[in-house]
Symmetry: C2
Subunit: 112 residues, 2 copies
């Protein structure tokens, strides 16, 4: 697969210090969730307030169905939680970590 190792000592040392593929895969998975416009919009809207599906659709200019699909993904990733009140399902962010991640990403973008 590869050819030669340029700096074998260094490369071997770094390779030994690498985190497990599983952990790095999971880290990538979390970022992947944040890496979609619709989901980022949902996250930011939920940062402002608990909201139901149709209001999120209105706020993000998406269809109810698209929002529902994305909320499912966000919920599976444990980034949002929901509570049901009659017909209406209210979604909110799971914890402060989500906000923190969003803010660091935002800072990074705004500093470019």
């Amino acid at each position: 697969m590869n050819k030669e190792i340029i700096n074998e000592k260094l490369a071997t040392r770094v390779k030994n210090k690498m985190l497990s593929d599983d952990l790095l895969f999971d880290v990538a998975e979390v970022f992947k969730i944040f890496g979609d416009s619709t989901r980022i919009k949902i996250i930011y809207a939920l940062k402002l307030s608990e909201l139901c599906v149709s209001d999120l659709a209105f706020i993000t200019n998406s269809s109810d169905s698209a929002i529902s699909h994305q909320l499912r993904i966000l919920k599976q990733a444990k980034l949002v939680k929901s509570r049901k009140e009659g017909k209406i399902v209210y979604y909110s962010l799971k914890d402060e970590h989500v906000i923190k991640l969003f803010e660091i990403g935002r800072e990074h973008v705004e500093e470019l």
Copy 2:
């Protein structure tokens, strides 16, 4: 596209407070870059040391070509920088922000 607004006052207020689509798009774009196993591996390896393409390929168990393609994406996103020394091109992380983003993502995963 949508049907009804459940809580019109709240939804309208949130909609007015939303960040611009452009900004939210850019934020999503940054996260998207982090949202790939190969790129996350590269980022973590470069967090440990400046490295050249073939060593990165060795460390991440990928082909030179695949790594080169991903480094191009990382460079365009201004997440890594490079310096050439003869035939060899050394890559390193652009700034502390990249490390910070990675670490918050890692923390999030490890706390689940």
